[in-house]
Amino acid sequence: MADKAKIRARAAKLSAEFEAAGALPVEMPVLLPADVLLDLYGEDIRGRAYVTSDALRGEQMLRPDFTVPVVQMHMAHGADPARYTYAGEVFRRQEEDQTRANEYMQVGYEVFDRENSAASDAEVFAVMQEALKGVELRAATGDIGILAAAVAGLETTVRRKRALARHIWRPRKFKALLDRYSGKAEMPASRAALLAADDPMTHDYPDIGLRSQAEVAERIQGLRADANADPISPLQVELIEALLNVRETLPNALEHIRVLAVDMPAITEAAFCLRDRMHALEARGVDVDTLEFEASYGRTSMEYYDGFVFGFYVPGRADLPPVATGGRYDALTQVLGQGREIPAVGGVIRPGILVQLEDAA
């Protein structure tokens, strides 16, 4: 672990570069109200963030990332377009691996802009890449929006599409649902018995708890409708799987996705976005011919990214966390904006890892 003063100095240099790129420096609190983060990320965040409390404010979390407070600040009184930069510690609870840092610096760059999303995506990526130049890194990119569009375009019920969309970020569960809806996996015996029963709602159990019998009946009705719906066709499953397996340089991936779009017209618009982003990256001087694109990239990270996603990795060092990560999170601004929304994209660099690499060089 490099010493903290050195990491701070490196962070200051990154902040200066982000300011020079047009970002306004902002300061964020270290303690965040737990309820907002819990509502957003669910219980998983408790496994990753330190929770503390007092008798007046209740549960507070030590800042696990900057995105949420920055979005809240912007939605409360920011005028758009806006660019922000911040630097400071984030805290991550580690329960499995003591060698992983539980406290480290992040320096971020966030863009809130209603115009031209492709240009904003490219801007954030290029600004990060520029700040990281001089260190040999491998960049990975992806696009959650293409997957979401493919799911939305499936020829099946709204209910199934909603369930699949909800689990895009949990690949194993997503696969299990796809198997169920395509008839590959049989339904559990208990569900078959439930569906075969004439009147499952007639029983002697007392009605306890907040989930009402009307809600139970409604779900059974949904399950019945689902049992009567046609399975998702093998071709559609194949297309989704082919899409998930796309992993090539960006121009080749784009070609591949366009070919898939012939049979999956729902992803046509998303493919155009990918093309526009590629051109915008090129215009920013990014070498797109060697840039990797992986359709499944970002699926296991935080649930809020819903478009472009990227990360910078140290080649041959799977033991090191990514030096930088980022992505688009339009939906998050909608959730936190209470009715208002604004397209947003951003990324963070970990100066601690950067110093470690620069010292070793």
Partner: protein, 232 residues
């Protein structure tokens, strides 16, 4: 110096532990008044009995303040990160059996599996505006289990006792708790999800990997383990 053996300080767990050691020629007993937490060991030399709350034994083992301890597997896994590197399982004692399970109201006739629970949680959140609540004291085990099994839209609420009552009191929709017979669950009109047995726990003798021992203590440990039929 002596090696320290941590044993639950009261109730059936203590008595059964005393019986288990007694059957192997190591007599454990409490001394002084019923209320005094002091114990004695006979049948083997160099071993000191420490009476502790079963819930504190994992922590004491991990800190190396006791060399051996009897407690439930559930408590070790809940309280210790990377438990295998901190303690070693020496023997399952064959009592204190309990499963960590998920219970929901029996009147949820549509819910039998984790897949059902996940779907019900999604609908519940849409209808009520907050995540479906599961009351438990096993936060870490339950969170990891539900995450591995693709359950989302739930939240854990802390319950250190009378967990089965939380549903009727409208402070939770489901529970995650240990049960041996399921009687308490049934009495509270709950049922167990069929594919959600997170852990099968029983009283187990653990050896600390963190407690230092000098030659004398190492020899006492060796003798004790041989006496217990567990070879050093």
């Amino acid at each position: 110096m002596t090696i320290k053996l941590g044993v639950p300080s009261k109730g059936r767990l203590m008595e059964k532990t005393f019986d288990w050691f007694g059957a192997r020629g190591v007599t454990l007993s409490r001394i002084g008044s019923d209320r005094e937490y002091a114990g004695a060991v006979s049948g083997v030399d160099g071993v000191e009995l420490v009476l502790l709350s079963a819930g504190e034994i994992p922590r004491e083992l991990a800190a190396g303040r006791i060399h051996l301890g009897v407690t439930g597997t559930d408590l070790v896994r809940e309280k210790l990160g990377q438990w295998e590197q901190q303690v070693q399982e020496k023997a399952e004692l064959g009592f204190g059996h309990a499963d960590l399970i998920i219970g929901v109201p029996a009147c949820w006739v549509d819910v039998d599996t984790l897949e059902d629970l996940d779907a019900a949680a999604a609908a519940f959140r849409r209808a009520h505006g907050f995540r479906l609540r599961i009351a438990t004291k096993y936060h870490r085990l339950v969170r990891e289990f539900l995450q591995d099994n693709g359950v989302a839209d739930y939240q854990l609420v802390d319950s250190q006792g009378a967990t089965e009552g939380t549903i009727k009191n409208l402070t939770a929709e489901g529970v995650a708790d240990i049960t041996s017979t399921g009687d308490t669950l049934r009495a509270n009109h709950l049922k167990i999800l069929s594919d959600a047995v997170m852990l099968k726990s029983q009283a187990t003798l653990f050896k600390s990997r963190k407690a230092d021992m000098d030659d004398e203590e190492r020899s006492a440990m060796g003798t004790l383990l041989v006496q217990l039929g567990l070879d050093g």
